[in-house]
């Protein structure tokens, strides 16, 4: 195995500007037929079922879907953060040339935080309350690079400035509870960027923030993504957020990708009945007193998956075929796929 040689930062920065100029670019991350199951004594939960996608360098992919659709699980499995004893993962995950599922525990540790980083939903609980912000950044740097304490601290300061935290010097010695929600989320982004990762995984990073702060953090993430040339996978259930930041969108339902395409295609010309129903149930200039349409029924029970299309029981247009045979992703247009038997008959 010739893994894990590219943990240092310098070559990354040099390579990235070239990436756009080379005509054929290989994907930064590739997920192939990923299945994730959580096993307990009572039940097996089929959280992710045959998910495949490619993420090109510098692309922002938004995974959207309701709670329990497997979006977070997909993302966490790319870093192998799920509890190993209870989780069964099959399929292939390749990030920056590393086959994530084949790595040893030690090897995956060198990847985490260095080449793949993650930011979480709730910065208040995700940051360690008894360590200073500076310490939480420097320990991430020092876990991957042999730098001195003062050098690590200097870089931590740069990172806080990078994420536009005002009076960064004093914030280095601040504890998480001493910062506002928006600043805490910026601090967590700084932690995630400490080793200039190539792939940033973001698990609903703006959900816990106020609406105004949400926009600021989204803009910041987009800028940083561009500056650092990162690929980003962004999980959210907020379609507005996805519209703001995404290049590509994957819609997940019951652990499967049901629609995949450019953000514009998916949001403007949704093909899958689920995507359509979801878009219809958002606020977009209806009359004030009009009720929002909702998707009837309950989310799929991941302990007992139904045969056929998993959305069929809740789908307004399903036919008997849908209950019998599971649809696979087929092209709706160029680079726009959906998994539905009725794509061609829907208008």
């Amino acid at each position: 195995m010739r893994n894990l040689q590219t943990t240092s930062v310098a070559p990354v920065a040099k390579d990235m500007p070239l990436a756009g100029k080379i005509p054929v670019v290989s994907p930064l991350a590739r997920v192939k037929d990923l299945n994730v199951q959580f096993r307990s004594r009572d039940a097996t939960v089929h959280a992710v079922n045959g998910v495949s996608f490619d993420l090109m360098p510098r692309d922002v992919l938004c995974i959207i879907g309701e709670s329990g659709s497997g979006k977070s699980v997909t993302m966490k499995s790319m870093m192998r953060l799920l509890p190993p004893k209870k989780t069964v993962m099959t399929g292939e995950i390749e990030v920056n040339g590393h086959k994530v599922l084949d790595l040893s525990e030690r090897q995956i540790r060198h990847l985490r935080g260095a080449e793949i980083s993650m930011i979480f939903q709730e910065p208040m609980t995700a940051l360690d309350p008894v360590y200073t912000i500076g310490r939480q950044i420097t320990e991430a740097i020092r876990a991957h690079e042999p730098v001195t304490t003062s050098e690590a601290r200097r870089r931590a300061l740069e990172l806080l400035e990078l994420v536009r935290i005002p009076s960064a010097v004093s914030r280095l010695d601040a504890y998480p509870h001493e910062l506002s929600g928006g600043l805490r989320q910026r601090a967590m982004i700084a932690v995630a960027l400490s080793c200039k990762p190539k792939l940033l995984l973001a698990d609903e990073p703006t959900t816990a923030l106020d609406a105004t702060v949400q926009i600021q953090v989204l803009v910041l993430l987009r800028q940083l993504q561009d500056e650092l040339g990162m690929g980003v996978i962004f999980v959210t259930h907020d379609i507005g957020v996805a519209a703001q930041i995404a290049d590509k969108i994957a819609v997940m339902y019951a652990g499967e990708i049901v629609e995949f395409g450019s953000a514009r295609d998916v949001l403007v010309n949704p093909a899958h009945p689920y995507t359509r129903a979801m878009l219809a149930s958002t606020v977009h200039g209806q009359a004030r007193d009009a009720d929002l349409p909702v998707i009837p029924g309950d989310p799929a029970d991941l302990r007992r998956l139904v045969a056929g299309c998993r959305f069929a029981p809740r789908c307004g247009v399903s036919k008997s075929l849908c209950l019998e045979r599971a649809p696979s992703l087929v092209g709706v247009a160029a680079h726009h796929d959906a998994a539905c038997h009725l794509i061609n008959s829907l208008t």
């Binding site: 935080g113 979480f120 995700a126 360690d128 309350p129 008894v130 320990e139 876990a143 932690v191």
Partner: protein
């Protein structure tokens, strides 16, 4: 930080006043008036009246209380009715003797409980976890007076490795930590006294470290690529303020001495003294002992609070 400590120290004043009030009230909880307890049954009413005046018992209660507090503050806790020696000196020497046992027991319990509890929390559900759970339940359940007797039978009577009771050279009531010949006497009582706090602290270490390991911040640490020992360090540091609180309480209880253990080992500590004061109805001695022990408890809690604020920055803010 300094401000927090000063504020915390100011809180001690009302607590101490409350403690003195309760101790003072002890005098009146005993049936009969205090002079009766001092006088022989055949004393004349004139003698009784003289005595009441002498001790100030004829004054209003709050004057008596004020005087008593002022004298106590200057270290004068009166004279023991039995030994006729100053209560303060008796209590302090007993406290010193108990401190040897409680410090030893606490150190032993803390170190073992901390290591075992952390290991158990890191490997929840494993054999190690089950074994340490068994050990801690045993520790909490075994009556320490029974354990003390068993230890004496095994190590003193049967094996003859360690002395059965006492505190060293005959008649000695002070303790030297550097003298091994004397230190040997402390080993069995220390082990006996450490078992209960060991069980309690181990359970709380296990619970709080396991809780810290389940927090979302641990996920972020894993996502940063930290090795397991670094993650465990984070968890322990998060759990530490909670553990510290339990440790402080246990230490406080131990300083109060154990009447049973100190009686079994014939150790002239605070528990022993307290027992003696109760059995002989020596009210000044009882008052003084309770006062000194209560204040020790308050001080230990102060130290714990200050330590907590060092480990947990969130405490400082309040």
């Amino acid at each position: 930080m300094i401000g927090y400590i000063i504020k915390r120290m100011l809180y001690i004043i009302p607590v101490c006043l409350g403690v003195t009030a309760v101790c003072f009230a002890l005098m009146y909880l005993a049936p009969g008036d205090p002079a009766q307890a001092l006088l022989p049954p055949d004393a004349t009413p004139e003698d009784a009246a003289y005595l009441l005046r002498l001790y100030g018992f004829d004054q209003p209660v709050w004057v008596q209380y004020g005087r008593w507090v002022l004298r106590a503050a200057s270290g004068d806790l009166g004279v023991s009715l039995q030994s006729q020696r100053p209560v303060f000196r008796e209590v302090m020497s007993a406290l010193g003797n108990t401190a040897v046992l409680s410090a030893g027991a606490v150190l032993l319990a803390f170190v073992l409980a901390f290591i075992l509890g952390t290991v158990a929390a890191y490997n929840i559900g494993s054999r190690i976890d089950q074994a340490s759970t068994t050990l801690s339940i045993t520790g909490v359940s075994v009556p320490n007076y029974w354990l003390g007797i068993v230890l004496v039978i095994v190590f003193a009577v049967e094996l003859g490795w360690l002395p059965a009771a006492g505190m060293g050279s005959a008649g000695s009531d002070s303790f030297s930590l550097t003298d091994w010949a004397q230190l040997r006497y402390a080993i069995l009582p220390i082990i006996t006294m450490s078992v209960l706090p060991l069980g309690i602290i181990m359970r709380s270490v296990r619970a709080s470290v396991a809780e810290a390991l389940g927090q979302e911040s641990i996920q972020l640490l894993r996502a940063k690529g930290l090795p397991p020992y670094a993650i465990l360090t984070h968890a322990v540091k998060n759990a530490f303020p909670q553990i510290l609180a339990v440790m402080g309480l246990q230490f406080g209880f131990l300083v109060g001495g154990s009447i049973l253990v100190e009686t079994i080992f014939n150790w002239p500590g605070t528990g022993f003294l307290l027992g003696k004061a109760i059995l002989t109805r020596d009210v000044p001695l009882l008052q003084g002992t309770i006062l000194v022990l209560s204040i020790s408890f308050v001080i230990i809690n102060l130290v714990v609070d200050v330590l907590q604020s060092i480990f947990d920055p969130r405490v400082r803010r309040t």
